[in-house]
Symmetry: C2
Subunit: 245 residues, 2 copies
Amino acid sequence: MDMLALEHIRAVLSRLEETIIFGLIERAQFAQNKVIYQPDGVGPLQGKSLFGFMLYETECTHAKVRRYTSPDEHPFNSNLPEPMLTRLTFSDSPLYPNDININDEILPIYQDRIIPRICDQGDDGQYGSSSVNDVQLIQSISKRIHYGKFVAESKYRADPAPFDAFIAARDADAIMCHITFAAVEKAVLDRVYMKACTYSKELNETRINYKVDPEAVRDIYAKWIIPMNKQVQIRYLLGKQCVSQ
Amino acid sequence: MDMLALEHIRAVLSRLEETIIFGLIERAQFAQNKVIYQPDGVGPLQGKSLFGFMLYETECTHAKVRRYTSPDEHPFNSNLPEPMLTRLTFSDSPLYPNDININDEILPIYQDRIIPRICDQGDDGQYGSSSVNDVQLIQSISKRIHYGKFVAESKYRADPAPFDAFIAARDADAIMCHITFAAVEKAVLDRVYMKACTYSKELNETRINYKVDPEAVRDIYAKWIIPMNKQVQIRYLLGKQCVSQ
């Protein structure tokens, strides 16, 4: 399988939309529950918030089974245990070796912007369920954003010359222009909105009612997921010079 | 909130259908990957299968944040750590104290019957993703099945006399008849099928194509989820005698 074939990348990104939308719907059944994002807010958890604790513990488990040796997986924590399973080599990874990871930027956006956009204000006491859903959801959003590395490599290989010039000039703005296709972004947003309407609509009610506001889902893609994916693309492309130097 | 109000129970069970169907759709994007259910099948994991290892580790994390002190949560493993957070008392639980837990029966049904019903045969190498989704999905199925305790208590309180007679006679068959409403079960199955069609349909294709077969989703409810929920109801009701003795 050619991991950089545009067909393949598009299929992965489109399928991730379902995962993210299902995750948004699942999280939105609970209130914001801000206390789960506050250090020791629910009780003593080694100075971590409940969500932070669950995310760390989950990543420890996943590290043990070598999740983060895969080029399309990125942890939020750095102090994780070694894999118990033999490392996979991923010698077929089409990416140049890199440690680009913008989860430090994704985490506050998630807690402070995305959660208030999809959840009712207030506190319903559903701390555990909210945190479990948070872990799954932020992991899928992070995967979608960091998939920009594959998108960038694919675009680069299709036509390296203009990228080489922008990279040599350290011109991030020119790269941004070159990787931006307004029509494609609009098509993604329209599709995401349509999917959100379908999956989120209450099916048993006469009045149309949504489990999560489809406008919010589109907004989350427009304001954060797509822009941060492009930031990853730019950082990945700018990193190409470092490798060849 | 009255946890035994039929309105409330119905809302919980209906909302759990979304969680379970989303989980089935998410798992069905990967092949069966039988090796993840075999002890040390993917590599050395203390004699556990990859799925078993992930389930155990996840339950350890959740036990630390006191998930299993809640009367509607049931672990698959018994050797779990103590909560780091103060136990909640759940003094408002409407259930009599009980340790009914049929996860030992749910686990083989899940691995050997449900997975082959929803996933393509074979092995696609997506072991980690398959196992992560398995953990979420089996937990939601277990929650749905064990919610029978609340259903049973609600039915009992609505009209205790016939139940008391059947319980005194240890007549499980009579209890089964008394808690079975064919029309209600048919309505649930019809609703589940309709939801599965809606959530599972590929939205971008001219030919109708489903991510998971809606018939399979209905079957899983008909053959396993509803019957095992009723088994929990019966065991819970039969346990009432022990308490009053």
